[in-house]
């Protein structure tokens, strides 16, 4: 199938073939050929898994990605075809991640705690002199856990916006498009969420310094 070739090396003709292929599959699914939806899953499961992996814990990626495709199927009739299916699906993936954290907040699960290794990690980062040393610190488990700890203190909205804009590097406009929110809303939240992250890190560092003194 030409679409599969295009997925690996997206030339302009390849992308157009993929898009028209998607539209044809969607048309057939909507006319009752439900099994054809598996082709869309095969085509985009890695893309969806990548998005969900950046927003939810690793052990929940499969479950959230599952929800994304079920949601995509149930709202398939609302897909207008004006934007590529991949983009439409990305929006659903991001909003499903948002719902995941909103539901999690209702459960009121405790946020993870930090050990002395996490606290020392910041000092190691600041002491890193070369790029290699800096990257080595970023690769450490403590870095990922400290980030999760900080994100765990933010609301679902702020968490999502911070991840999209500051960590993933989406523009405010792109993030707003994915979330279905206004640009102003995302801009304000992105600024506020970053300030909150900074305050958390500063407080953490201050506590650490107080205990070591």
């Amino acid at each position: 199938m030409p679409g599969h070739v295009a997925a690996g090396c997206p030339s302009l003709i390849g992308v157009q073939t993929l898009v028209s292929d998607d539209l044809e599959i969607i048309r057939r699914v909507l006319h009752g050929e439900i099994d054809r939806f598996a082709e869309l899953i095969a085509r985009y499961q890695q893309h969806v898994a990548k998005i969900t992996n950046r927003h939810v814990p690793s052990d929940r990626v499969a479950e959230v990605a599952h929800d994304v495709f079920v949601r995509a199927y149930t709202s398939l009739s609302s897909f207008s075809g004006q934007t590529p299916f991949e983009h439409w699906l990305s929006g659903i993936a991001v909003r499903t991640c948002y719902d995941f954290w909103r539901a999690r907040r209702r459960e009121e699960l405790p946020v993870s705690t930090l050990s002395t290794e996490h606290q020392a990690w910041m000092d190691h980062v600041l002491a890193a002199e070369s790029d290699d040393q800096f990257r080595e610190q970023a690769r450490r488990q403590e870095a990922a856990e400290l980030l999760q700890w900080a994100l765990g203190h933010l609301s679902a909205e702020n968490r999502l916006v911070l991840t999209l804009v500051h960590l993933d590097g989406y523009t405010v406009r792109e993030a707003a498009g994915l979330l279905g929110w206004s640009v102003v809303n995302v801009k304000v939240r992105a600024h506020r969420a970053r300030q909150m992250l900074r305050t958390l890190l500063l407080e953490r560092k201050r506590q650490e310094d107080d205990t070591t003194q």
């Binding site: 006319h31 990548k50 009739s77």
Partner: protein
């Protein structure tokens, strides 16, 4: 021990961003696709009616929008004509009173 000034804070933020980008790629597996398709077939059985008429949702919303506009126009015209009738009736009654008033004196 290093104090967190603005520059240091940016360095920690950069390290956290790097950590975020270094997350391992997930793999979902073949069983996962089968489970998703099983749920989708179940969903299709439950919502077979709406899937048999693709675009029905959009049609319903468009009809609702048109109905709302029509209702607004209808309400507006009723209010407009009722007010005009009321004004005419008031003028007529006041005319009646004017005519009747000298007789009662």
């Amino acid at each position: 021990m290093t104090r967190l000034n603005d520059e240091n804070l940016k360095k920690v933020e950069r390290a956290l961003t790097e950590a975020h980008r270094l997350r391992q790629e997930p793999s979902l597996g073949a069983d996962w696709t089968l489970r998703v398709m099983r749920d989708i077939r179940r969903e299709a059985a439950g919502h077979g009616q709406s899937m048999m008429f693709p675009g029905i949702d959009r049609l319903v919303w468009r009809t609702a929008a048109v109905a709302a506009v029509l209702a607004l126009v209808f309400t507006g015209s009723v209010l407009f004509f009722t007010n005009r009738d009321t004004a005419e009736l008031t003028a007529l009654l006041s005319n009646e009173i004017d005519v009747v008033a000298p007789v009662s004196e």
